[in-house]
């Protein structure tokens, strides 16, 4: 894998991981181009894109797009599942993960990603093992300062709601689905029914 990007439906970057050395200018250019292209795709289209000499595999979960760049001989479908497994990991770690969890705890999201993918290759595919590694590291930190955890883990749902509306400024919550807090949980975006049946989080 060459890189992985997470961005919101408003085109805001939420996470970026580059497995190939590129200059900052290059990275910005790629991000800008890709965000535009992916956002312009319609929901029924393929989850793949040919872009320059790379293949882009992307998937939308609620308001977040997960987007990976792979080489031509790599397997597109398994990359989709890598994305899915990552979302599962996030979900398990944060407990019904939503975009805000990732925004406010992005370093945790990075830690999980690093346990899961290392140097662009799947490092550990057992969900249990990844979480174990993360939690061990977390425990260490908790030991060090039990009384003062560094970041708030969970924001109360009311706050979530309020913040969410502000986050999507310029794009007020006009869509019905967003007025309910429960929908903020990262779930697969609207896709054809058949696919939904197969994939989709609990």
């Amino acid at each position: 894998m060459q890189f992985m990007l997470l961005f919101s439906r408003q085109g805001k970057l939420r996470l970026q991981k580059w497995y190939v050395p590129l200059s900052d200018k290059e990275k910005k250019k790629i991000t800008r181009e890709l965000v535009q292209t992916v956002l312009a795709r319609k929901p029924k289209m393929c989850s793949f894109l040919e872009w320059r000499d790379l293949k882009i595999v992307y998937k939308r979960y609620a308001s977040l797009y997960f987007c990976c760049a792979i080489e031509d001989q790599d397997n597109e479908l398994i990359t989709l599942e890598i994305i899915h497994r990552y979302v599962e990991l996030l979900d398990k770690y944060f407990g019904s993960v939503c975009e805000l969890d990732i925004i406010f705890n992005f370093e945790k999201a990075y830690f999980i990603l690093d346990e899961f993918l290392l140097g662009g290759e799947a490092q550990e595919t057992s969900k249990k093992n990844v979480l174990k590694a993360i939690e061990q590291a977390d425990l260490l930190q908790e030991d060090a300062k039990v009384s003062a955890p560094s970041f708030f883990f969970h924001i109360s749902s009311a706050l979530t709601c309020m913040l969410y509306h502000r986050m999507s400024n310029g794009c007020p919550p006009t869509h019905g689905e967003e007025s309910k807090c429960t929908n903020y949980v990262l779930q697969e975006a609207e896709t054809p029914r058949s696919v939904l049946e197969e994939i989709g989080l609990t």
């Binding site: 393929c46 320059r52 397997n75 479908l77 989709l80 406010f104 346990e115 061990q136």
Partner: protein
Amino acid sequence: MSDVVEKTLTALPSLLSLDSQPGSTKLSSTSKLGSLIRGITELTSKHEEEKLIQRELVSIKEQVSSPNTSMRQMKDLMVRAIYCEMLGYEASFSYIHAIKLAQQGTALEKRVGYLAVSLFLNESHELLLLLVNTVLKDLQSTNLIEVCMALTVVSQIFPKDMIPAILPLVEEKLNHPKEIIRRKAVLALYKFYLIAPNQVQHIHSKFRLALCDRDPGVMTASLHIYLQMIQENPEGYKDLTTSFVTILKQVVGGKLPMDFNYRSVPAPWLQIQLLRILSLLGKNDQSTSEIMYEVLDESLQRAEMNHNITYAILYECVKCIYTIHPKSELLEKAAKCIGNFVLSPKMNLKYLGLKALTYVVQQDPKLALQHQMTIIECLDHYDLLIKRETLELLFRITNAQNVTVIVEKMLEFLSTSKDDYTTTDLVGKVAELAEKYAPDNEWFIETMNTVFSVGGDTMQPDIPNNFLKLLCEGFDSVEEDRKLRLFAVDSYVSLLQGKPGNLPQRFLQVISWVLGEYSHLREELDPATVMRLLVKLLERKQTSSETKSYVLMAMTKLCRSGEGVSIAQEVSESYSSSMDTVLRQRAHELQHLSHNLELRTRVLLPGEAGLEPLEVDSSLSFLDGFVSEALAAGAAPYKPPHQRQEELAQAKALSLEPYSLALPISMSSCSITDRQSPTLLSMSSGLSGDSTDLSHKGGSTTLKLDGVKRVWGKEGYLAQREPIEEAQIEVPSPLRSPIQQTETGNSHSPSPAPTQSPEHEPEKQQLASSLFVGLSSQSSVCLMGKSEPMPQRFRKKAKGQSSTSAPTSNSLISLPSTVDHLLCTNLLEKTPELSEVHAAANGTCDVEAALVSHEDSNTPQDLCLSSHLPAELSELFHSEISPLCSTQSLHLSACYVQKEDSLILVIFITNSSDFAVHDVHVDLDSEQLEVSCASDSPVKEVRGCCVAVCQYSLTVKRPSAHVTVAGMVSHQLHIETPQTAQFSYELPLTSFVRPLKVSTEEYGRMWLDFTHDTKQNLTLINDGEEPLTDTLTVLKKKLQLHIVEIIGMEGIVACRLLPDQPCLMHCRLHAGSLAVWMRSSLPDLPDCLMYHCQRSLTEH
């Protein structure tokens, strides 16, 4: 038990969050990151955001540099800095603090520090050097978490040059009791292997340990390394095939722990990785492929569940089945899979189905026929990606009969596509098809016109070049040539008379050239008319100066008499004072010509007679006099561009390498004034510029030519052709079972696809018949590259032939039935001189050899065989004679002999039977080596109980630490069926190394010319008084180097790789080890030699 653990673990996060819940409200109000994020969300404009972030950055900057900031605060600051960078604002001031945090923080702080480093810096960032010590410390830490963190950061980002510093520690971790540490260590080594393969060459055996690790996670991690290594050298790992197959069998059979399951599929990632490895191993190798048929079949059967993950495995399986040596049952199943993919309503699967179809279509055109209706539907798909892939598929099945329809579809797509990359790619393909299969002149010119206007200025420059070459070199018939040119001229004149304004510059250049060259063919066309059209181009503002100079050149060819001359005079007048020197030059030429009638008649009127080929002196030897004169007068000698750049870079940037700085210092400390280090010497010779030395000049010309070649290679044809050629190579030989043949026959009538919509049916049927014409069973042969039903209309001469012949021969190689024949004819054509030694006089020995070889003991055979060495070689050093392979009656052994200027591979063919063996052919092939025959007459038969000897001379094409020759022997015993056997023979690179006797001055001069270098610290041999001399002597003895000079703590050594690739080595004693710096003009040579130096020193 594990269940209990798992439950506890899954409960953990909720426990943690419960823990932090009470504090969360408080934290969110005080957390700086929280308020920053909320601050941003409250803003309404980009401008405000920018202001806010800049303020934030200023405050972060202030705090990070304050000495009172604790590490904990630092961590928060770092997180905020990462956030700012993610938003696209630069926070480079914090990089150094990230490193500091990783160094000094504890636990989580360190973790954030490492994370920040891996996000902020990239591999070549100079600050990374500061991280090395921290990583070293953490790798040695007793805290597992810290070790994990260090390994994680190392496998993401680490300076290449510092790998040796931590390598032993990482290696040690391969034996760590915790599997997570072992796994991370393996991945770190994988990373090292990717960025500096020579550094980890010596631990290949440990990779095998990792592969056999009891933990599946560690084993999975090691497969990344194996995939990479097998990609580079599939021959070297054939012995592992059985192991990989066994692993895959176990995985598929569900023998792994449950938590490796993903959606109840056992370890899909692992399966896919293994399938990829197997396809690499089984490619073009029947015996290896046979090992995997069973497990592939099983994988196909198991993957029946209806989910993405099983599709992923199926897809990989199908790819593997079509890559390895074919087996009809598997092919059938795979074809069915592809069918399911293509027909699937899910876009992702449809796309992959098309992709797979594209991959296999040349081998199995009937598949495309079966799905023609789906393909046609996909041609009009709303998703451009699917459309694009369909075109790719059509591109592969294009032939002379369907070319017009396919090209039309491609051009249609081009007109809607806005993406530059796609445009460039497709335009190249259209041009290729047009050149190959054009049905007539008009179509060809018109298609090329579209190509030029759509492709614009982004297309590959060799499209217009090839086109012009084709026009001017022509093909077989003179009349055809004339017609094509005439048509081009007509078409361009009418284009220029219309609206030339929108045409891209490249196209205008082509037009100008063609009009200048060929407009005289159209007799009724007045040159002055053309001139006037060209003048219009000149007057346009958008016309670039390159195009203008094309136009002026065309005018030079056109200005013959009358009005044309006066136009030319006018034009040249206005451009003779142009600021552009090229334009000015052209204008002056034109001016001169237009004023001089005599010159005009002499130059222009002979017309056709001027077509005789010019001899070009590519070495520019006619300039030698001028050059030496200039040099004598004090001019600086020519330096190749890369050297100039290097010097420029050295002058500009402060060199951060302590090594090069140390050179002059160590010299002064030695206080040797009359001797100079190589670097200084070469600098001075470069500056004073009085070098008229021939060898140096020779070196620079060759370098220059290299440069030119490289530029050409980069830009064009190769890059564009490669994918196609590759695909053709990948096509394994089609196994035409009787069943398949009948099926192919049946599919002649298009089988209706279930998805077709009835109302469009007639149209689509029509389109189908025009698209898939020529794909029927009979002409499917042509797709395999055996024969062309229609001769290619335009055959490019020089370049084109070589590029079209390559895939053909490749695909032939993959056809086993034709292989032998082809190889035989090749061998005969090349008249490989093989010699048979019928040692009748030495009969006893032969009998002995035969007897012994039956008993498979090598030493006595070795003795006997070595007596068969040709006289001229027997005096020289030869390696141990090792067995290669045997067939029923023949035994092959080989050794190599090091001659001074070449390396000879000697193959002994021992016939152990009593009968003569006929039609013996030995064929050698190597990716890294150039193989040529070196003996006198071909061996065709080996009589009973005799030994025949073949000699081959080898030179290195592409250095690598060990080079291998793969080969095949085929023969007939009596009237029996032909027998073949394959073998491979490995030689160390050192056998190609010879001493290079140069003086210190010459050494200095060469040093600066070379660009590829590597540095490493090697162990010093410390037994004697003079460690440097001792070490160098050992190296000299083992590797055949030439010690140029030893001065105090430094020594310079030179050698050459046969035939004449010099490699220079500079050694210096430094802190108890030998700091070696190697340079060569060949990319991988220093790395490989370094590996051998390292090995011979450790062995000592």
